[in-house]
C-alpha cells in the first residue's frame, strides 16, 4: 500500500492501515497532514498490490 498526496499545497499523506473486512475485499486507510503536521483534508493517490486474493467483495 502506498499513498502520495495530490494537489498544490504542501500536504503529505501516509498509510494508517489496510485489512480485509468481514465483507471481503481490502480496505485501506490513509491520513493526510499539512506541513505542520495537523490533520487536513487532501486529495491523494493510493496504490495497492497483493500476491493474494482478497474476496469475495
Amino acid at each position: 500500500m502506498h499513498t502520495t498526496a495530490y494537489g498544490t499545497g504542501s500536504t503529505y499523506c501516509k498509510v494508517t492501515g489496510w485489512f480485509t473486512p468481514a465483507r471481503g475485499g481490502t480496505q485501506a486507510q490513509a491520513q493526510c497532514y499539512d506541513a505542520a503536521g495537523n490533520k487536513t483534508n487532501s486529495p491523494y493517490v493510493g496504490t495497492y498490490a497483493t500476491k493474494f486474493l482478497r474476496g469475495p467483495c
Binding site: 502520495t4 504542501s10 501516509k14 475485499g25 487532501s42 493517490v45 496504490t47
Partner: protein, 270 residues
C-alpha cells in the same frame, strides 16, 4: 493484463516494534531494509510512512550486488524535519528484459538542473522512450514520460535524501505524445524546495507483477463517501471466483466515516 515489474516487485511493512534495522540502528528514524537476492543496479524505490503519527518517510538510498541483497535506506522525520522512529511501507521494483508491462520510473537526481533526461538504470520507460525532467520554479518539476499516452493510470512519488523534504504530485495527464506529471517538493516548513525524488508510473490497469491490486485517485477530499473516477482508478478484482466483483472500484471512506450506503456494481455497501 501486462506484468509491469520484472523479477519481483517487493514490498514490506516495517513496524517499528520488532524491527531490527542494520543500517544506522543508533540513529532514530534511519533504517536499512535488505531484500534478499535482489542486489543489482537501478530500479525504483517508493516509501510511505505507516501509522497514526505525523511522521513522514522517504528513501535515502539503495543498492547492492547480486546475488546478495538489495539494501534500501529509509529516513523518517517529524513535520519539523527532526528524525523520528516510524513504521513505514517500502516497495522496490526493477525492470526486466522479458516481462514488463506499461509504465515508467525515474530517479530525479539533479534537483537544480533546468532540464535533463537520465539514461541510467534508474530510469525506465516501457515504450523505450527517454524520460525527461524539467525544473520550473523552486521545487516544481515537470516529468515527461514519452510514448505513454493513455489517459489514466496512477503515480507514486517519494522524496529522496536524508533530510526532511517531501514531494507530492500536483497533476498529471497525457499530452498526446507523453504522460506528463508535475511534482512539487517542500521543505519541513512547507516552503517549496529543490530536492531529489523517485517517481513511478503505472499505466492504466497495471498494478504489479502479482496481477492483483488496485489504485485510486482520491480527488474528493471532503466527501464522506464516494466512488473514485473509473478513469483514474482500477481494481483487478478476482480472476477466479467472484466475477461480479471485477471492476468494483471501492468506496473511499473519508475520516468522517459516515455510514452512507453506496451503490456499486457489487451491490450496496454500508
Amino acid at each position: 493484463m501486462g506484468q509491469r515489474h520484472r523479477r519481483g516487485v517487493v514490498a514490506v511493512l516495517v513496524q517499528q516494534r520488532g524491527w531490527h534495522g542494520h543500517g544506522d540502528p543508533g540513529r532514530a528514524g534511519f533504517y536499512t531494509v535488505a531484500f534478499g537476492g535482489l542486489g543489482g543496479i537501478g530500479g525504483d524505490v517508493q516509501v510511505v510512512a505507516y501509522g497514526s503519527s505525523t511522521a513522514r518517510c522517504k528513501v535515502s538510498g539503495w543498492g547492492g550486488s547480486w546475488p546478495g541483497p538489495l539494501s534500501v535506506s529509509v529516513a523518517c522525520h517529524t513535520p519539523t524535519g527532526t528524525p523520528v522512529a516510524s513504521a513505514f511501507v517500502v516497495q522496490y521494483a526493477r525492470k526486466d528484459v522479458t516481462v514488463d508491462g506499461a509504465g515508467a520510473y525515474v530517479w530525479a537526481e539533479q534537483p537544480s538542473s533546468p532540464s535533463y533526461c537520465p539514461t541510467n538504470l534508474y530510469s525506465w520507460n516501457s515504450t523505450g522512450g527517454v524520460n525527461c525532467i524539467t525544473r520550473g520554479t523552486t521545487g516544481t518539476y515537470d516529468v515527461a514520460l514519452p510514448g505513454l499516452t493513455a489517459t489514466g493510470g496512477t503515480f507514486q512519488i517519494t522524496a529522496y535524501g536524508s533530510s526532511g523534504q517531501h514531494c507530492k504530485i500536483q497533476s498529471w495527464g497525457s499530452t498526446g505524445t507523453a504522460q506528463s506529471a508535475r511534482v512539487l517538493c517542500f521543505d519541513a516548513t512547507g516552503a517549496p524546495v529543490d530536492t531529489q525524488f523517485d517517481l513511478n508510473y503505472f499505466a492504466p490497469q497495471e498494478v504489479s507483477v502479482f496481477d492483483y491490486g488496485a489504485y485510486a485517485w482520491a480527488n474528493n477530499s471532503t466527501a464522506a463517501v464516494y466512488t473514485p473516477s473509473p478513469t483514474y482508478s482500477y481494481n483487478s478484482g478476482s480472476i477466479n471466483g467472484w466475477p461480479g466483483c471485477v471492476g468494483w472500484l471501492g468506496a473511499i471512506e473519508a475520516a468522517r466515516r459516515a455510514r452512507t450506503p453506496v451503490a456499486t456494481t457489487c451491490g450496496t455497501r454500508t
